[in-house]
């Protein structure tokens, strides 16, 4: 029983560590290094970089302090200014930039389907008999313009 509890605790701690690591990677990829290199924090690994090591330490501290990712990003916004977060937030005004593209695509697709539906209802094709002599000129033109 004791062994089973230990195994369970170990698994739980592994899961929690994996989750923390996931958060670290996720948020570290949304923050820009402030050294002026314009690189993502976790990608800015210049030896001797004055900023990235300190910022990464701050990120780890903020991860331990705040449970909500948005709070972590807000802490960085507050400390380094709005431009430090390279991925717009998914709340409030900035949500618009995330929602607009899929909404636009879906609306456009819906519009196409709707238009096709409407046009199909209107169109009543008539089959050519092939015997109409008036069509001969047109047919000849079609043959001429068809390369095969």
């Amino acid at each position: 029983m004791k062994r089973a509890t230990l195994v369970l605790l170990f698994c739980f701690s592994l899961g929690a560590a994996a989750q923390d690591n996931e958060r670290y990677r996720d948020l570290g990829n949304k923050i820009q290094c402030s050294c002026g290199c314009n690189q993502i924090l976790l990608q800015c690994n210049h030896v001797g970089c004055q900023s990235s090591d300190g910022m990464i330490r701050e990120l780890r501290t903020a991860l331990a302090t705040y449970k909500d990712d948005e709070d972590v990003l807000n802490w960085f916004r507050h400390s380094y200014g709005m431009t430090v977060v390279v991925a717009p937030s998914t709340h409030g005004f900035e949500l618009m930039i995330w929602v607009a593209p899929p909404l636009l695509v879906l609306s456009a697709f819906a519009l196409v389907f709707f238009l096709i539906q409407r046009w199909r209802e209107r169109a009543v094709p008539v089959m050519a008999t092939g015997a109409d002599p008036k069509m001969d000129d047109l047919r000849a033109k079609v043959r001429e313009e068809t390369e095969l």
């Binding site: 996720d26 005004f93 096709i116 050519a128």
Partner: protein
């Protein structure tokens, strides 16, 4: 020379303005003299090119002769600058690049007016519109960004050219990009001309198709040369950083691509006329907008020139006068051009009525429609992301950063869907496709794609094990239960998942292209009694546009393979003393020596590294750092990266100088898989475009009766009997 240059610029403005005014009067007049007036307008437009060319030559001559009495040359050149880079001085600064814009526009106008016999009336209208654009740029060059401004006191030497621009790619990249940007003015002029004069039929599309393709080709080459320059010069190991100016060049490319596809609908079925008209208008607006973004400094970018008042010429301005309680607002060129387009569209929109409608979702037309929608969605996302910091600043008063995480998250899925449509489109018939036909056409490409995916998985492209490069997407805006479910599959949004999908879709598209060539080739093989390869060659000659287009698609897929390799990038930065080793992937680098070199134009410090792969010596590589104008206040530092390229991967080494704390040299090493395929793909795209630009060879007349379907006066081919099947 400055006086000649200045005079020619002013004279060019007068000529362009005359071309505009006389052209309008001639087109509006019905008197017998209108023809002569129109001819004089045409000739003055052509003469404007000669005047601008002389002005540009005067600037180049002054640069070659180190005439530092000109402020522009003092700021962008110096005595030790090599001659090829002195030529690049013409477009390396704000004033020079505006002159270069005017030169290219005049050159396009010259060719257009020279070829006026193609349709005198249409060309006369297009010439007037082009003269309007020319006049605007010449006003800007003459009165706001004149490159012939003189110094009060002549300095002994100049500041020199920006170090980042002293590369062969940079001598070619801006002219290519400008040729693309400026080239989009010509189809715009033809489109607006056709709308104004209610031009009957689709001839204007035929006339402008080659112009659009040429401009698109230049834009493509320009964009990828920029990516190539970023990769080989900037030293960060990547080729595309979603910088606002990079985005600005991508926007007209996307809408131009959409236009090149959707005009086929207009040509074949008389559909999407309004859409095409607005697409070409939008492409032109985005070209001008791109120029505005680069020049105005409204968005910070590594490419942007200093903040200047030039932006107001493009976008207008509004504000409040200091001493009067009045607000002021005036439009820029872009608003005026938009207003003109909207006016003529509202006035003549009945002329753009479609002759046919979409009849089925499963048809070639709808695949073009979806292709256009997806391209425009991508364009919208890029535009949105580029302008969002400005929008945020206006609305909330704080400027946020929209970086690669947003652009990648939004554009990668869109791009993959577009690739899917690239494969699907050719498999669908015009008007509608039966289920049996879908099954028959899709079987081979789908099986091939699945096989490729399986082979890749066997070879080790297994996102659920690799999971590299993620998390990549942002699911947060989806409902909570979906987000939780998706995030529980850790690898689903990793870059390697997208790579696997990209390779699979790429295989699907390649199979459809191969199938198209094979089927067409088989038909001709029987007719010409030749082998399959020769038949495919003849097929391409006979319908160069269609099969050239397929070659372009093939090039795009090769580029995609190169881009998909990014998921497996590796990077390592290390201090490396004498005879120290760096191990990365299969490679081992051993430091042999550090050296310094002095040159008239620059000083350099390089590391000499022996490179081994799996224990076998490959070559010695020399990454370096370079200091231009060494020891002077305007000294500029730059990287000279060393790259060992194979078809599988690039070994990319950057020398980062000495660590000031330990006094030991630092190198950064990247392994970038498949990058070379991006450049190979671009070459294929260029070749494909050249094929598509070539005129068709003589067509083979088919003696086989055709089955047609008639609705009203419209005739549609339902199928061809015998040989055509």
């Amino acid at each position: 020379m400055p006086i000649i240059g200045s005079f020619c610029l002013l004279f060019a403005l007068v000529l362009a303005a005359y071309c505009l005014v006389a052209g309008i009067v001639a087109l509006a007049s019905h008197s017998p003299a209108a023809g002569r007036l129109s001819e004089s307008a045409r000739r003055s437009g052509m003469a404007a090119f000669i005047a601008v060319a002389v002005s540009a030559l005067a600037l180049v001559y002054a640069t070659l002769n180190n005439d530092f009495s000109l402020e522009y040359i003092r700021a962008h050149s110096n005595r030790t600058l090599p001659i090829p880079y002195k030529l690049a001085v013409l477009w390396s600064g704000q004033e020079g690049s505006m002159l270069f814009w005017a030169l290219l526009l005049s050159a396009y106008g010259f060719v257009l007016r020279l070829r006026h016999k193609v349709d005198r009336r249409l060309v006369a209208y297009a010439s007037v519109i082009l003269a309007g654009i020319q006049t605007f740029f010449l006003i800007v060059v003459n009165f706001s960004a004149n490159p012939f401004g003189l110094m009060d006191k002549v300095p002994p030497d100049g500041n020199g050219l920006n170090a980042l621009l002293q590369y062969p790619q940079m001598v070619i990249h801006p002219p290519m990009l400008y040729l693309g940007y400026v080239g989009m003015s010509v189809p715009f002029a033809f489109g607006l001309a056709a709308l104004i004069m209610k031009y009957p039929g689709e001839k204007w599309i035929h006339i402008t198709r080659r112009w659009t393709m040429v401009a698109w080709l230049f834009l493509t080459v320009g964009i990828f040369l920029g990516a190539n320059w970023a990769y080989y010069v900037l030293g960060w190991g990547g080729y595309w950083g979603w910088d606002p100016v990079e985005n600005a060049s991508l926007l007209p490319w996307i809408t131009g691509t959409a236009f090149l596809h959707s005009v086929m609908m207009q040509e074949k079925r008389g559909m999407m006329k309004t859409w095409n008209m607005w697409l070409i208008f939008t492409t032109f607006f985005l070209s001008i907008f791109g120029t505005f973004l680069t020049r105005s400094g409204v968005i910070s970018s590594v490419h942007s020139f200093a903040l200047s008042s030039i932006g107001a010429w493009f976008m207008g301005d509004f504000g409040r006068l200091s001493y009067f309680p009045f607000f002021y607002a005036y439009p820029g060129f872009l608003e005026i051009a938009m207003a003109a387009c909207v006016y003529f569209y509202v006035k003549n929109r009945s002329h753009l009525k479609a002759e046919n409608t979409l009849e089925s979702v499963v048809s070639r037309e709808s695949s073009f429609m979806f292709n256009n929608l997806v391209l425009l969605a991508s364009c919208f996302c890029v535009l949105c992301g580029t302008l969002f910091p400005v929008l945020s600043d206006w609305i909330r008063g704080d400027k946020i950063t929209v970086g690669p995480p947003y652009f990648n998250a939004v554009n990668v899925p869109i791009g993959l869907f577009l690739i899917f449509l690239t494969g699907v489109g050719p498999l669908l018939a015009w008007r509608m496709t039966s289920l049996a036909s879908v099954k028959r056409n899709f079987a081979f490409p789908a099986i091939f794609a699945i096989l490729v995916a399986l082979v890749l998985i066997v070879l080790g492209v297994r996102p659920w094990i690799l999971g590299v490069g993620g998390p990549y997407l942002h699911w947060d805006y989806l409902p909570g239960w979906i987000t939780r479910h998706l995030q529980s599959i850790a690898w689903i949004d990793s870059l390697s998942s997208f790579s696997l999908l990209a390779f699979t879709l790429g295989a699907f598209v390649v199979a459809t292209i191969a199938l198209e060539f094979y089927r067409g080739g088989r038909v001709l093989q029987g007719k010409l009694k030749t082998n399959l390869l020769a038949a495919m060659y003849h097929l391409t000659r006979r319908n160069s546009r269609r099969y050239g287009g397929y070659l372009v698609h093939f090039g795009v897929i090769i580029v995609l393979i190169g881009l998909a390799g990014r998921a497996f990038n590796q990077e390592k930065q290390q201090e490396i003393g004498l005879h120290d080793k760096v191990q990365i992937g299969h490679y081992e680098l051993i430091s042999q020596k550090y050296t310094e070199d002095h040159n008239d134009n620059f000083d350099s410090r390089a590391a000499i590294l022996d490179v081994y792969k799996d224990g076998k010596f490959i070559e010695t590589m020399y990454p370096a750092e370079v200091f231009y104008q060494p020891g002077q206040p305007n000294q500029q530092r730059d990287n000279k990266v060393a790259i060992h390229t194979t078809l599988m991967e690039d070994l990319y080494i950057r020398y980062d100088g000495f660590n000031s704390q330990t006094d030991r040299p630092i190198v950064t090493v990247f392994i970038n898989p498949l990058v070379v395929w991006i450049w190979i793909g671009v070459i294929v795209m260029v070749l494909g475009t050249c094929v598509a630009l070539a005129p068709n060879a003589a067509q083979l007349k088919s003696p086989v009766p055709l089955t047609v379907m008639v609705r009203g006066d419209q005739v549609q081919i339902l199928g061809t009997a015998g040989a055509a099947k």
